[in-house]
């Protein structure tokens, strides 16, 4: 049950080139977390979402459509869909995630910003100029569209005189820290994930959290960006007993998320395997990538408790 590969990559690349994101979402949606907190605009250090977390409810809605299309004759209309999408953006017409899902993922960004503030880190946000990095298009080899996006983001960061970017998810971290400097040798911005920033200082925990959790490492953090020790150092201060699953750290197993856009059924099967591994370690697991969270949660179907690390750390530092 696969989708037509060429037209799907074409639609994603067209969207990135024409509209600045593989799945363009309304600015009021992508910026609501920063508006809630009244964060200052710009500054030398910014918390940069790359819209990755905000995209998750839309990806979830699109995957549900793709799963239905993948096995139906309608999938043959994908080339027509690509031509139509160049004129009218189809995503807002097709993907309408429930408000509850949007609020839940916004909460991750609010929690990250709260944790950084509690740790005494000064930062701003770029609101509608906080652009998607093109991570999915990069994975699919649509490098020309990604290069256009890298230049756009470089111009934005220069305009706001940003010197340091704090990222939330592993994919945005990898694109800004590793991929963009390869595309643009003069891309001179320091990039760190919020987990690396927080792990540099002690976590103020008023009362230890009770309970047992296992930890799912994200492939991109563990194997591309060497972010392995930082989440463990932070969780060790929360009071939780954290048990390692059978594939952990640098040898973590994938959640299946990267296969979602073209092979949704296969993505779910891989997520199911990973859920089983995590369940053998503990009844509840902690994730550190929004794609892992959504993919594992869908596969677990309630059989494994899943929570993003930002929510755990926020509760540990005073709710």
């Amino acid at each position: 049950m696969t989708l037509p590969i060429g037209p799907v990559i074409g639609i994603l690349a067209d969207n990135l080139r024409l509209r600045g994101s593989v799945l363009p979402i309304p600015a009021r949606r992508s910026t609501s977390w920063a508006r809630q907190l009244g964060l200052p605009v710009g500054g030398p250090t910014v918390l940069y979402s790359g819209q990755m977390v905000q995209l998750i409810p839309y990806i979830e809605a699109m995957v549900a459509i793709e799963e239905r299309l993948g096995g139906s004759p309608l999938a043959r209309l994908a080339p027509l869909g690509r031509r139509l999408n160049r004129v009218v953006s189809l995503v807002p017409l097709m993907a309408r995630p429930p408000g509850r899902a949007v609020a839940e993922y916004d909460r991750i960004l609010v929690d990250v910003a709260t944790l950084l503030s509690r740790a005494g880190v000064a930062f701003g946000a770029l609101y509608a100029d906080d652009l998607y990095t093109g991570a999915l298009a990069h994975d699919l080899g649509a490098d020309e569209a990604v290069a256009v996006q890298a230049r756009r983001i470089q111009q934005v960061l220069r305009r706001y005189k940003v010197r340091e970017v704090i990222t939330v998810d592993p994919h945005t971290t990898h694109m800004l820290r590793t991929v963009f400097p390869r595309i643009l040798p003069d891309f001179a911005v320091a990039v760190r994930s919020y987990l690396e920033v927080l792990a540099e200082r002690p976590l103020a925990v008023p009362a230890p959290l009770p309970g047992v959790r296992t930890l799912h490492d994200a492939c991109v953090f563990a194997r591309y960006e060497s972010v392995v020790e930082e989440p463990r150092r932070l969780l060790a201060q929360t009071g939780l007993r954290v048990l390692e699953p059978e594939a952990a750290g640098r040898l973590t197993e994938c959640c299946g998320g990267p296969a979602e856009s073209l092979f949704p059924a296969r993505a779910r099967a891989i997520a199911g395997q990973r859920v089983a591994q995590l369940r053998r370690a503990a009844p509840d697991a902690i994730t550190m990538c929004p794609l892992c969270l959504v993919n594992l949660r869908r596969a677990a179907d309630g059989a494994l408790g899943l929570e993003d690390i930002s929510s755990v750390l926020r509760r540990a530092t005073g709710g």
Binding site: T2, I5, G6, I9, G10, A13, H138, D139, L140, G141, A142, D143, C219, R223, Y224, R250, L251, E253, C254, G256, P258, A259, L262, F263, R266, I270, Q273
Partner: protein, 101 residues
């Protein structure tokens, strides 16, 4: 069945980005650890490119895009082959060659 081998395909792919599969010693660790469980991934695919078997590579388009780029194969590779970057470069090639993108 006969096949003509040659370096042209690997050179054409290599012009689009890094492709270092020549160091592969065909041990199969990468295929053994691959969570996708597809026989093409990644050893046989890389071998087909190195040998210049373009028809086979084009026929394996779906497995090329099925790769998760999770890098579990790469951290396990005793020859230090940059497998995921090879797959990404091959996708760039197929985007042009098969899909006209």
């Amino acid at each position: 069945m006969t096949a003509v081998v040659g370096a042209e395909l690997a050179e054409a792919v290599g012009r689009l980005g890094p492709f270092d599969a020549a160091a592969c010693m065909n041990c199969g660790v990468c295929t053994a650890v691959c969570p996708m469980g597809i026989a093409w991934l990644p050893r046989r695919l890389q071998r087909a490119v190195v040998l210049g078997l373009e028809q086979e590579v084009v026929a394996a388009t779906e497995p090329v895009y099925a790769c998760l780029l999770c890098r579990l194969c790469e951290v396990s590779c005793p020859a230090g082959v940059h497998i995921t970057e090879n797959v990404r470069t091959l996708r760039r090639y197929l985007n042009r060659r098969v899909f006209g993108l």
